[in-house]
């Protein structure tokens, strides 16, 4: 590396080296100390062989005024926006700018068409949010959920109120004088038409489920390559979508409110298998849950648990089932105690 002398570097800056010497310098620059020497020599070369000598006093004056802010624009160029855009290409620049800004507008509206057409509410892991929609319907959105509603036409005359749900939410729908429909769309060809009022929808990977607490809703299910099915629910009923059979399974729940206790940061288990609990933790808290033994997966849990803190729930389960629960950052593992 000693072949790189100061003379060589100075020649290099002046563009007077061969390509081999250039390569030599490039290799030499691998060393951080040499890079520092390189910049030092470059400054020295610019000091001794300047392309032109800038007026230092004027420059410093300008810089000082800029620092004290007495002169917001120190040159013909507005500094805060783009100090380097000069009216050099005025004509072509102007038309280019017009065309560019037009295409930027078009491109952005295309890219963000979802955010322009829809208002989106999103919750993160462990976050529960209460929303009041423009028609004053109330929605409690569980963790890791997304609710979208059309910005346009939502309350325009005669339009139906469409919302799109991924995740879990409790709806308390306001009835409007013109009897306008309120429809919850899920990802799975299942739509819930509200006739009046309070119900809980789960639309996640693990299940699609509707529990009606009060009022009346009509379900519209469109299985693939089949006639659509309609089902009217009465309070206390629970409908789960069986995707394999492409069918809606209706059961009656004596305690429909249990399906919305999550909004008070509680879980109510009623002979709930550990696999389902694991999925709930995964969905609501964004943790990866692994159950080591299949014998463990079928263990069932009942009772009401506070889940303000997921670690409390985990240690409760550990004690209750006398199993071992380990958590490493985002990973939770359930395993038998004796391993």
């Amino acid at each position: 590396m000693n072949q790189v002398t100061k003379a060589l570097l100075l020649d290099y800056h002046a563009g007077r080296v061969t390509s081999l010497q250039r390569k030599l310098i490039e290799d030499w620059l691998q060393d951080a100390h040499n890079r520092s020497t390189y910049y030092e020599t470059l400054i020295e070369w610019e000091t001794t062989h300047p392309q032109y000598v800038a007026d230092e006093t004027a420059g410093l004056d300008r810089f000082r005024r800029r620092l004290t802010g007495t002169q917001p624009t120190t040159s013909a160029v507005p500094q805060d926006e783009d100090p380097l855009v000069k009216p050099f290409f005025t004509r072509s620049w102007a038309s280019w700018l017009a065309a560019a800004s037009m295409s930027v507008v078009l491109l952005t509206s295309w890219l963000f068409r979802t955010s322009i057409l829809y208002k989106t509410y999103t919750t993160h892991s462990g976050q529960i949010q209460t929303l009041v929609l423009p028609d004053s319907s109330r929605v409690v959105l569980n963790a890791n959920s997304v609710l979208r509603l059309s910005r346009f036409g939502w309350l325009s005359l005669g339009a139906q109120r469409d919302v799109f749900l991924t995740g879990e939410a409790e709806f308390n729908v306001t009835h409007l004088r013109d009897h306008r429909r309120f429809v919850v769309h899920t990802d799975r060809q299942l739509d819930i038409e509200v006739i009046g009022t309070k119900f809980v929808v789960l639309s996640r990977q693990r299940a699609t489920r509707v529990v009606l607490i009060r009022g009346k809703v009509k379900l519209h299910y469109q299985p693939v390559q089949q006639a659509s099915k309609t089902l009217t629910m009465t309070p206390g009923q629970k409908v789960t979508l069986n995707e394999r059979k492409q069918a809606l399974e209706l059961t009656t729940s004596t305690r429909p409110n249990d399906f919305s206790v999550w909004k008070n940061r509680q879980y109510v288990f009623d002979d709930t298998p550990l696999t389902e609990i694991g999925q709930m933790i995964q969905d609501d808290f964004g943790l990866k849950v692994e159950i080591k033994e299949s014998s463990l997966a079928v263990r069932q849990v009942s009772g009401t648990y506070n889940v303000a803190n997921v670690d409390e729930l985990l240690s409760a389960l550990e004690e209750l089932l006398s199993i071992r629960v380990t958590r490493q950052r985002d990973r939770v593992t359930f395993s038998q105690h004796n391993n």
Binding site: V4, E26, H33
Partner: protein, 219 residues
């Protein structure tokens, strides 16, 4: 006016000794070291001291890329302003002069890239963290190749085109003034200018692909 090529070396004897990498950048030999205490008590004064020390060299270097005194001075001024305003002197790991030079080159490159190819990096220069992104050896060499090919391209312009170009760009004269001085029409000045820029664009084009990569890493 600008004849940086083929200058006689000032002191050939001292120039042929090998450079001593590690020691030459030691703190005790570093003139910036004396400034360290001033940075704490009066950063503005320290910043002005740096400005006085490197302004001419940095402007000269920037002008090799952008070929305009005014743009070069704007760039250097902007670099110092950001250096002071963002308190970069607190976070810079390399030497200040290395940082200043890198920042000036980066902005100068961004400017000509906008001017000659009508495309920018897509990243706001202010947002790019030069402290974290120190140019690699190949990037450094590409910057050098860039200003050297610009210089070469300008030297190869037809004499009258070159004269018009330098008066307009480097000296920042108005087309009207140039036309008067060279006794030609404004229309002819315009023709010379567009010719110069298109030749410059052609000369620099093969380098975009190389230096362009600099831009792409920032995305």
């Amino acid at each position: 006016m600008h004849e940086p090529l083929f200058q006689p070396l000032d002191n050939p004897v001292s120039l042929i000794r090998p450079l001593r990498p590690a020691e030459s950048t030691g703190l005790e030999n570093n003139p910036e070291w004396q400034l360290q205490r001033v940075w704490e008590t009066n950063p503005r004064e320290a910043c002005e001291a740096l400005f006085r020390k490197y302004y001419v060299a940095l402007c000269s270097h920037a002008s090799r890329f952008v070929y305009s005194k005014e743009v070069a001075e704007d760039i250097v001024s902007e670099v110092f302003y950001q250096f002071y305003k963002e308190k970069l002197y607190k976070t810079i790991k390399s030497s200040y002069k290395a940082y200043l030079m890198q920042a000036v080159r980066y902005r100068a490159y961004d400017y000509i890239r906008w001017e000659l190819s009508k495309s920018r990096r897509g990243t706001d220069v202010d947002l790019v963290n030069l402290i974290d992104h120190e140019p690699s050896p190949s990037e450094i060499v590409q910057y050098d190749e860039l200003y050297q090919s610009i210089e070469l391209a300008i030297n190869q312009l037809p004499p009258q085109t070159k004269r018009v170009f330098l008066l307009s760009r480097f000296e920042g004269r108005k087309y009207q003034e140039i036309a008067g001085e060279l006794a030609i029409s404004v229309k002819t000045v315009e023709t010379h200018m567009s010719k110069a820029l298109s030749l410059l664009r052609q000369a620099v084009r093969p380098l975009w692909t190389g230096v362009l990569l600099l831009g792409l890493v920032q995305f």
